[in-house]
């Protein structure tokens, strides 16, 4: 899914090279955001339910429980390496948020804001270079996430995307 959304974003951003239509740039931004959104949700569901094919339907049901706002709040905390004291204190002392995860979290926060502008704020116009750069940034964030080798941090981040509002209390 995320690959198709990224392809769609790149296709829309490259249309009308001389005078890109704002509608295409806006949809490109939105598609790129949703590529990252669905990618992270899919990764989280795989961690929680398993990667087997017969779990696919369960993963799809669970995916509906993820919330944009909750995911953003978790990402802000991971980006800033500022987990609530109680949570940080309960984690093993060796727990660390690797820079790769900080980058993914940061990209998600940026992406959500851009998607909000793209979908709701008609007073802002998008420049093609910004959209093109943004799509590459999302691609990079996904590739970076794949490279995170610290399994505990990676798993904890993914679970936080779903449970942050309860966990942070």
């Amino acid at each position: 899914m995320h690959e198709d959304l990224l392809d769609q974003a790149a296709f829309l951003a490259a249309k009308d090279p001389k005078r890109p239509k704002q509608a295409n740039l806006r949809r490109a931004v939105s598609s790129a955001y949703y590529a990252l959104f669905h990618y992270l949700i899919d990764q989280a569901c795989r961690e929680l339910l398993g990667t087997q094919n017969d779990k696919r339907v369960y993963r799809h049901v669970l995916a509906r429980a993820f919330d944009h706002g909750c995911m953003k709040e978790a990402c802000v905390a991971f980006r800033d390496v500022s987990l609530p004291k109680k949570m940080a204190g309960a984690l093993p002392s060796a727990f660390a948020i690797p820079p790769e995860l900080q980058f993914v979290a940061e990209t998600f926060v940026q992406a959500q804001e851009k998607r909000h502008i793209a979908d709701y704020d008609l007073s802002t116009r998008f420049a093609r270079w910004d959209v093109a750069g943004f799509i590459h940034e999302v691609e990079r964030a996904i590739a970076t996430f794949e490279s995170v080798t610290n399994v505990n941090s990676r798993q904890f981040f993914l679970v936080c995307l779903l449970t942050w509002r309860t966990l942070k209390r």
Binding site: Q110, A127, H136, E137, E139
Partner: protein, 108 residues
């Protein structure tokens, strides 16, 4: 908006191209960086940073690596000065912004 002018002046200083140049990627060429106060979709104070690229920027120069290292240079510079406002970063060329302005005027 409640971002203090003092903070904005500090941001402008931190993002001065002369200081930041070493941390920026070779491509695309950055002509200037503009910063202004911003309120994000959740109503939080933040920064809007517009990175003005040279008009001859090509799509090939906007690789993931270049874009990320450009944005990282900005994040890192702000963090190093303990500026906690989140910078929402936008890229553009002057020619593009002029064109967007023309389009807007035509629509009015």
């Amino acid at each position: 908006m409640t971002v203090e002018q003092k903070v904005l002046r500090k941001v402008t200083k931190v993002l001065d191209l002369k200081k930041l140049k070493k941390a920026l990627p070779r491509e695309p060429h950055v002509e200037r960086i503009e910063s202004e106060e911003y309120v994000n979709a959740d109503g939080e104070d933040a920064l809007k940073i517009t990175v003005m690229l040279s008009d001859d920027t090509t799509l090939e120069q906007l690789t993931g690596e270049n874009v990320v290292s450009l944005k990282s240079a900005i994040y890192n510079a702000l963090r190093a000065e303990r500026i906690s406002l989140f910078p929402y970063i936008f890229l553009a060329t002057q020619a593009e912004l002029d064109e967007l302005k023309r389009e807007e005027e035509e629509e009015d």
